[in-house]
């Protein structure tokens, strides 16, 4: 897993309080990791904070899995 993937995973584990081994690329935040709609808003904010980038609402709506987040951030991360 890329460095960005590891950092994404760490944030997801912290915010959703889930086992690290469940945080795999195709895991859906809502269906597999127990997040609700507010959790996903907060996750996106945490990604923005960690990676120094802005994630517009229309992009945020396409980030449904751990892999989606990693892919988006590999392209857009500024830090």
């Amino acid at each position: 897993m890329s460095d960005i993937g590891e950092r994404v995973k760490k944030i997801v584990v912290e915010h959703l309080g889930v086992e690290p081994e469940k945080v795999v690329d195709n895991a859906s935040f809502i269906d597999d990791l127990g997040a609700d709609s507010l959790d996903t808003v907060e996750l996106v904010m945490a990604f923005e904070e960690e990676f120094g980038c802005e994630i517009p609402d229309d992009a945020a709506e396409t980030i449904l899995t751990v892999g989606d987040a990693t892919k988006f951030l590999e392209k857009n991360a500024k830090s």
């Binding site: 912290e14 959703l16 309080g17 507010l38 808003v41 907060e42 904010m45 923005e48 802005e54």
Partner: protein, 421 residues
């Protein structure tokens, strides 16, 4: 109307996590006051508070992880975590864990708070100013709202009956228990999880109450001496934090399931001072009328009272005004009634105060003991009422009245009696 009894108790206080650890220290005459260490107090007039002892959960310490998932703790202010802890204790104590849809719908929540998420509001205001609106958490609002103590408890335990909350400053806990008892009496619910929770200890909380000249400022070096109701050296209340929750239940419902019954809620009175936003009316008429209303509702006379758990916050004005109102109420019965302020030990838990004090009233009945008013070295006025200085006193107690008065001139009195057929 249907009769309402108490079948479960739970609390988190500056004297410990749990009813028995707190009660033991109350009866020992201990104080929960200490120097504030969680934030800078160097420029605050008041540098002390009655702080919940955090720890690993042993020896009566409070370990938040035992009561709420760490991921959820981050989303809420402490009053919600305290409320969750006290509610879980009370439901376990009552052995009431509704599973059928019918039982769930018959069980409601009414946990209030005086101020709610003050800390989170202050921190988020700074965040908004420094970093802008995009950094404000989606949990900012639901983690600060006063009724979310009830909300979280309802969700955690699947309680689908009335989901309500009270906000009447320092009368909150008493109003919550009184109002919840009425919902049961009127048939809106069979069981109510009811009380108050508060987490006001913060720079903005201390600064605000200091500005209102409400807090003790003269005992920063001897915090355990600061809360001294009725004593001539008292100079304001000591802020406390925590929660108190009771399980109230319709009498026959409790009997049918063989629940242990602590006591019966038999009287509840409410009144307004219509005088001033923070000062009680000097003639004490508001408190007098709320106590009188509670007695009328209970069908008792003043001489039936054995013990009064006073509002008694240790402010220069309030203590004597309440005492005057109680003397007026009791008349010739004054010499046979004991009245103490457990705030001398716990400090003032604001919206949780009335709830923990109702629990102390219940324990006074259970154990036939009056908790003391500690630090009462030199009463500022003479009275025929036994103010129970320094040490707890054994005596037969069957009927207790608990007073709570709040900013805005709001008053509540609750009367609890040993269960009699």
């Amino acid at each position: 109307m249907r009769r309402v009894v108490v079948t479960g108790l739970g609390m988190v206080t500056p004297l410990g996590c749990g009813v028995e650890p707190t009660w033991k220290r109350i009866l020992n005459g201990e104080s929960g006051a200490r120097r504030i260490e969680s934030f800078d107090v160097s420029d605050l007039q008041t540098k002390i508070a009655c702080v919940v002892p955090r720890g690993d959960g042993s020896n009566g310490s409070f370990n938040a992880d035992q009561w709420m998932e760490p991921k959820d703790q981050r989303k809420v202010d402490d009053f919600i975590i305290f409320g969750m802890a006290a509610a879980k204790q009370a439901l376990d104590d009552a052995n009431w864990h509704p599973e059928s849809e019918e039982d769930k719908c018959a069980t409601g929540t009414m946990i209030g708070s005086g101020i709610g998420g003050l800390n989170g509001i202050a921190d988020t205001a700074i965040l908004l100013k420094e970093r802008g609106p995009r950094r404000v958490s989606p949990f900012f609002i639901p983690g600060r709202l006063i009724n979310l103590a009830s909300g979280y408890v309802s969700i955690e335990h699947g309680l689908k009956g009335p989901n309500h909350s009270v906000v009447t400053a320092c009368s909150t806990g008493a109003h919550a228990i009184g109002d919840a008892a009425r919902l049961i009496a009127l048939g809106d619910a069979d069981v109510m999880v009811s009380g108050g929770a508060e987490s006001p200890i913060s720079r903005i909380g201390i600064a605000g109450f200091n500005a209102a000249r409400a807090l003790s400022t003269g005992f920063n070096e001897t915090p355990e001496k600061a809360s001294r109701p009725y004593d001539k050296d008292r100079d304001g209340f000591v802020m406390g934090e925590g929660a108190g929750v009771v399980v109230l239940e319709e009498l026959d419902h409790a009997r049918r399931r063989g629940a242990r019954i602590y006591a019966e809620v038999i009287g509840y009175g409410l009144s307004g001072d219509a005088y001033h936003i923070t000062s009680p009316s000097p003639d004490g008429d508001g408190g007098f009328r709320s106590m009188s209303a509670a007695l009328k509702r209970a069908g008792l006379t003043p001489s039936d009272l054995d013990y009064i758990n006073a509002h008694g916050t240790s402010t220069p004005l309030g203590d004597e005004i309440e005492l005057g109102a109680v003397e007026r109420l009791l008349g010739n019965a004054a010499s046979k009634v004991a009245m103490s302020s457990t705030k001398s030990s716990t400090g003032h838990l604001l919206g949780a105060a009335g709830a923990i004090e109702a629990i102390f009233a219940i324990l006074a009945i259970r154990d036939n003991v009056v908790p003391p008013t500690i630090n009462l070295d030199n009463p500022s006025v003479q009275t025929a009422i036994d103010l129970v200085p320094h040490t707890a006193k054994k005596r037969e107690i069957n009927v207790v009245l608990s007073n709570s008065f709040g900013f805005g001139g709001t008053n509540a009195s609750v009367i609890i009696r040993r269960l009699a057929d």
